[in-house]
């Protein structure tokens, strides 16, 4: 009787969000898949069906696409490795009973809430070879031989990766801490009775028990890395984005909306978008499979 009455709510309550989602999210996504099969040179111009030609060109002849793909993968693997290594390390520190845990957690998380454009401005200054803080600091502490152009062509993307990593560590630290905190104390106590020290406790107790959560976090990071646009796009010393800094989303925007020249290759850009979506789906499946484990009930 309760349920019958409540069922009347379903449609009016669900409709607005479902309709918005279908019309302005799902439908454009599907359209994007369709458009990738066309040659489309401008928003007011007609589409010409060309089948898989866009994809063929993309995968065989396009150097910039290869750069964008390499960068996105570099960010995911290298950036991810650093982020998770540091986040694990800090989680084990903060879970070992030291004081000011919440203080550290807050300070380390803070970079995550700064606007990416502001973060870029700050780091551009840090990296500046002539009067930037990084070189200045190195000179002050006597390591002046390391004074260099941190973001020179050839190293722009690693420099960008450092920035993204700095912002992200706190986020994954917070999540790992929450997961580690849920492990009940008796498990640790049993470990302590068996003579484990902090380090062993982390590797042999904490890590296995949060293994499936780690899988979820890796998926979150992968999606985040594949979506990366704002930091790489804004971080450039010449005012327009060099191909060296491309990520897949940046490439979609560059090909689709042009940068300084009004050349719109909208079908081609959509094809890049398709490849991006495909990569996200595949990696999600792979990661989930690697980290799958029956949930330990506790």
């Amino acid at each position: 009787m309760l349920n019958k009455q409540r069922r009347k709510l379903i449609i009016p309550f669900l409709a607005p969000s479902l309709i918005l989602y279908l019309v302005f999210f799902i439908y454009p996504t599907i359209q994007g898949l369709g458009v990738s099969l066309d040659d489309w040179s401008g928003f007011k111009l007609p589409l010409k069906f060309i089948g898989l030609l866009n994809f063929k060109n993309l995968l065989t002849m396009d150097d910039n696409f290869v750069i964008a793909l390499k960068n996105s993968m570099y960010l995911f693997f290298v950036g991810g490795f650093v982020i998770f290594a540091v986040a694990f390390l800090f989680t084990s520190f903060l879970s070992s009973g030291i004081k000011a845990k919440n203080f550290f957690r807050g300070i380390l998380f803070f970079p995550n809430v700064i606007a990416p454009i502001a973060v870029v401005t700050i780091w551009q200054f840090l990296y500046n070879p002539r009067f930037g803080l990084l070189n200045g600091f190195l000179n002050i502490i006597g390591l002046g031989q390391f004074d260099q152009s941190w973001a020179a062509p050839g190293r722009i993307f690693p420099a960008i990766t450092v920035i993204i990593t700095w912002m992200a560590i706190g986020y994954y630290l917070v999540l790992l801490l929450a997961a580690a905190d849920k492990i009940p104390q008796d498990v640790y106590d049993a470990g302590r009775v068996d003579g484990a020290n902090t380090w062993q406790m982390f590797w042999l107790v904490t890590l296995p028990m949060i293994w499936d959560v780690i899988g979820i976090l890796l998926v979150l990071w992968m999606i985040s890395a594949m979506k990366q646009f704002e930091i790489a796009y804004a971080f450039s010393s010449t005012g327009s984005v060099p191909p060296e800094s491309y990520t897949l989303p940046i490439y979609v925007v560059v090909e689709g909306f042009g940068m300084r020249e009004p050349i719109y290759r909208l079908g081609y850009a959509s094809a890049v978008g398709c490849v991006l979506l495909f990569i996200v789906v595949i990696l999600t499946i792979v990661i989930r499979r690697l980290f799958k484990r029956e949930a330990i009930q506790y």
């Binding site: 009455q5 918005l20 606007a115 700050i122 897949l248 978008g273």
Partner: protein
């Protein structure tokens, strides 16, 4: 819950006993270095925003000579940060509120009423979290330009709402499903209509979750500039992050670092305020979703 270990040692976390605090020193050092770096960077930028460019180039480490607000006034007026700030305030506030208006009822029926397909629809919404915006913004731009919603704030609000739906639904369904069922049943027995039950009982109960979703959406929408870059083309409609981006692109020619820093501070102020007062809620919101 405390376990019943009958030992004379003090109850403490893993390895946290007094005799073991020595190994903690390197931990404090490493954590401390990172923390100091973070604090230092922010404080330095804030201080630098009060300098002139000449003072900055002369000595990057010096304290500002005076705390004159010249850079801020210039950013606010000449550079039109005031306009951008206002735009962001309107766009972000409205999109956050409307996202809740649209998603909370949906999350409620998806979790509290068992109907066929409810699980599928929930997963369907959540799957949207994995779709990069880059995949859909070309057709979306085309669609919106046909209905004249490009380069206006309403169109941007629409985009923000739609893109926030997956995550917000994810968060709210998680939250709603953790609320006790008995209250609804007893209210129904008392003769309240389902709508009244939702408005008078469930919404107030869910307010921590709603607030958390609001805060997280506010911060991410305030900070973003990618979508604004695509959907806003004229200067007067820029949001504040986009404005800072535009400023930065032009800074290549002016070299006005201190002006940029003032812009950075202006941009960060609302977020810092939120963070100082609500960081615990933000953090619990983030973990609530991923760590059930």
């Amino acid at each position: 819950m405390d376990t019943n270990i009958k030992e004379s040692k003090p109850r403490s976390r893993v390895g946290g006993q007094l005799s073991r605090s020595l190994p903690h020193i390197p931990m404090y050092v490493i954590l401390g270095l990172f923390a100091v770096f973070n604090i230092f960077v922010i404080v330095w930028v804030a201080l630098a925003s009060f300098k002139t460019n000449r003072q900055l180039y002369a000595n990057v480490w010096s304290l500002p000579v005076s705390f004159a607000l010249t850079n801020y006034i210039k950013a606010w007026t000449t550079v039109k940060m005031s306009q951008y700030f206002l735009n962001s305030l309107i766009v972000v506030t409205l999109s956050v509120i409307l996202t809740l208006v649209v998603s909370a009822p949906a999350a409620y029926v998806l979790t509290r009423i068992k109907f066929r397909g409810s699980n599928f629809i929930t997963q369907f919404f959540i799957a949207g979290m994995g779709v990069p915006a880059a995949v859909l913004f070309i057709p979306l731009f085309d669609m919106l330009s046909k209905i004249k919603m490009v380069d206006n704030l309403a169109g941007l609000i629409l985009v923000y709402i739609v893109l926030a739906i997956p995550f917000t639904t994810f968060l709210l369904t998680g939250f709603f499903s953790s609320l006790p069922v008995e209250l609804e049943e007893s209210a129904a027995i008392d003769g309240a209509s389902p709508l009244a039950v939702f408005i008078r009982i469930m919404l107030p109960l869910a307010s921590p979750g709603l607030l958390t979703a609001a805060i997280l959406n506010f911060v991410s929408t305030w900070n973003e500039y990618m979508l604004a870059l695509i959907f806003i083309t004229s200067d007067k409609n820029r949001t504040i992050s986009l404005g800072l981006y535009a400023l930065q692109s032009s800074m290549q020619y002016t070299g006005d670092w201190v002006g940029m820093f003032a812009g950075v501070v202006i941009l960060m102020i609302p977020i810092v305020i939120i963070f100082v007062f609500l960081s615990r809620r933000m953090i619990s919101g983030i973990t609530m979703g991923a760590i059930k």
